[in-house]
Amino acid sequence: MFITGIFAVGFYIATIILIVGVAMKVMRYARTPSPLVIPTTPAPTTRGGVVLRMAREVFVFESLFKGNIWTWVLGILFHYGMLIALLRHLRYFTDPVWGWVSLMQWMGIYAGFAMLAGLAGLFIRRVFVDRIRYISSPSDYLILALLFFIAFSGMMMKYVSHTDIIAVKEFIRGVMTFHWSPMPTDIPVLIHFTLVITLMIIFPISKMIHAPGMFFSPTRNMVDNPREKRHVVRWVEERSQSPDQ
């Protein structure tokens, strides 16, 4: 029960840090104005066009595709693998399990391998391409390793030492409803949970903030209509009203 308590509290703290941390960052981005119209052109001339442009960036990594095909392939493998794996995990959070979550369970193993392959490829690229090695800090390698071992420990539970996933689900539901239930304590579970808690905590203060942050990128989210519509933000307005201007 001691270990259950530690992990339950760990998840509470990590969840609070994740939500509050991301909210604070997002609020800072939202409050910081973009005084000039700076989309990278050619850019859409309407709001709807911008939504489409952003959707292409989010779902098919349009710019990265133009930039580097290998990074794009590895990035797609990793991100979509992770997305499917994450959605598959919803079965541990929902009772009864939603229909579409049950239906997609079979995809999980492929997703897991895709994620591992993508992350391994990105790691190798970071180590062996001199330009990318040059720009890498220890944290860049560590984040890849963290994600890799989250996926790896998760797969271990399926292929190497079977974990009592009924108990895992009871633990997670217990944490969610504040009626704790003991968690399994085999090594892969402990590793998996520890790494996930770590990931949640560092998410808002690491480069993983790119996920919410990219929506605020002015070169991608601004409309190309400066001649038609005058764009003025508050600090510029206040400044031009001050007498010394």
């Binding site: 990074t71 480069k207 942050g213 070169t219």
Partner: protein, 513 residues
């Protein structure tokens, strides 16, 4: 071939990604501005004693004012997609010229002073203190970026290194490390009205001389007025157009188009400059001050339209920023875009059948077009995205029968900077300019060899000067570079050519036969 005491990159079938050579360009730094040049712009004259605190304060200030800087500092994942996209990186092999590495010069300091992990675990996240060496490194490498935005095309999050370079230069200027070339030029705009320091009377003389040249050539008296109150159009054009080669032929081309279309136009002696180096130094106040001179000139001269000449970064400022900086322009004729690019104007006239071009006049030439970075990636022409690529090409094709594009990954949004943009068009950065020109020169050389291209047309004063200077280093003639409106002017069919002039031309033609 032009001589240099450094290695000039060779040209091959493609642009190879060089093996990194750390420190290769750390010696490259432009001259620091003199105290009076900084003071004219509202900056401290020389490095202040408390530069460390001032610099960090300024960074904090910019992080609050510019979403681009705040977001870009945080969201880079170091994927490396930009690392082989910068022409200066490709030309110099210096790793700090990789866009992400250039950003990291500032990001490392940002992390140290503005983020929790950087404050507590600097080594882990690559954070570092702001030292005097770091400041000098900023000065060097933030003046090895032409703010061309090519990296931002390939970044999955659209991170634009130009925004970070501008912030870097802004911080440097605020601690007294302004750049001589840009700051001196901005001072000239305030005092005299243009970058070149060409005073009103000299400008008037120049325009008269050019009008005479056109009359000698065509037999037509084409007006080139200055400060003519009540004109329909105020022409705002880079001052290089008034006498630099090959720019001036472009200006004569605009004059012919205005004349043929019957548009009454003028230039202003007060705002005789399209260029706005406030953009280059990343300073909002100076950029606004320069833009407002143009607003004032348009009001004083009671014009109804503003037309913009061939200038790259200036068109970005005019198209994207003027409305914000100096608008609203509700006192101008709303039937025309404000501002309107000279290429848009000529294109519309051509479409409407109000002017006609005879492309056979340029049959001795085979043309290609260099997309200028700020036009390509920071502005637009016409109604549709991409008009900035199509409209100039349409004009060239209407003015010349022989046209080929350079390689696809070097044109349109992928275009390579000429190597001299962003406030780097100065002799003290010649090595950087020559090396940075390599990717563009390589693509040009390819079409010279494969398609016998004789000329490259451009719509940017900086590009034209930079090409004229660097072409010889790559065994190509400096006169290959030409203004789009030079071609248009030569091909333009002038309807009121006097008869004696026509006969004279025919005689000449017969004599040549």
């Amino acid at each position: 071939m032009a001589k240099a005491d450094y290695e000039i990159p060779g040209l091959s079938q493609y642009v190879p990604v060089p093996k990194l050579e750390p420190g290769k360009m750390e010696h490259s730094s432009p001259f620091i501005a003199k105290p009076e040049h900084n003071a004219d712009l509202g900056f401290p004259g020389e490095l202040v004693d408390d530069w460390h605190d001032k610099a960090i304060d300024k960074m904090g200030d910019l992080l609050k004012k510019y979403r681009s800087l705040q977001v870009f500092m945080d969201i880079c994942v170091k994927c490396g997609a930009c690392t082989d996209k910068c022409h200066y990186m490709l030309g110099t092999a210096d790793p700090k010229n990789m866009p992400v590495a250039r950003q990291d010069l500032m990001r490392s300091v940002y992390r140290r002073y503005f983020t929790w992990p950087g404050k507590h675990f600097p080594k882990l996240v690559g954070a570092r203190d702001l030292t005097r060496d770091v400041l000098d490194e900023w000065y060097s490498y933030y003046h090895q970026c032409s703010e061309c935005r090519r990296c931002s095309v390939y970044c999955p999050y659209g991170i634009d290194t130009a925004e970070i370079t501008m912030a870097g230069r802004e911080i440097l200027a605020h601690v007294g490390m302004g750049q001589k070339y840009s700051n001196e030029i901005i001072g000239k705009v305030y005092k005299i009205g243009n970058n070149l320091g060409l005073p009103g009377p000299a400008l008037e003389n120049t325009l008269e001389g050019l009008a005479e040249d056109i009359e000698d050539e065509t037999g037509i008296a084409v007006a080139m007025p200055m400060d003519k109150v009540g004109s329909e159009v105020l022409l705002i054009t880079p001052s290089a157009d008034f006498f630099a080669e090959p720019h001036v032929d472009g200006l004569m081309g605009y004059a012919k188009v205005f004349h043929e279309a019957g548009i009454d136009w003028t230039v202003s002696s007060y705002a005789s400059e399209a260029a706005n180096f406030g953009l280059f130094i990343g300073n909002y106040d100076n950029m606004e001050k320069i833009a407002k001179r143009i607003r004032k000139a348009s009001i004083d001269l009671k014009v109804r339209r503003i037309v913009h000449g061939e200038c790259g970064h200036a068109w970005r400022v005019a198209y994207s920023f003027w409305n914000t900086l100096a608008g609203p322009f509700d006192y101008l004729d709303s039937n025309y875009p404000v501002p309107q690019h000279i290429c848009e104007l000529t294109y519309d006239l051509l479409q409407a059948g109000k002017i006609k071009l005879d492309p056979s006049q340029n049959d001795d030439k085979v043309l290609t077009f260099h997309d200028s970075c700020n036009v390509a990636r920071g502005s637009r022409m016409g109604d549709k995205p991409g008009g900035q690529f199509d409209i100039p090409r349409a004009l060239i094709k209407a003015a010349c029968n022989n046209y080929v594009d350079m390689a696809r990954d070097t044109i349109n949004e992928h275009t390579f900077c000429c190597g001299g943009g962003g406030g780097l068009l100065t002799d003290d950065l010649m090595e950087l300019r020559v090396k940075g020109a390599m990717p563009r020169m390589q693509a040009l050389n390819e079409v010279v060899e494969s398609d016998k291209v004789t000329h490259v047309a451009a719509i940017c004063a900086i590009c034209k000067t930079q090409f004229a200077k660097t072409l010889p280093y790559y065994n190509m003639g400096m006169d290959m570079i030409i203004s789009v409106h030079h071609l248009v002017g030569d091909a333009l069919i002038m309807s009121d050519v006097p008869e004696d002039k026509e006969e004279e031309d025919e005689d000449e033609a017969r004599a040549q036969d």
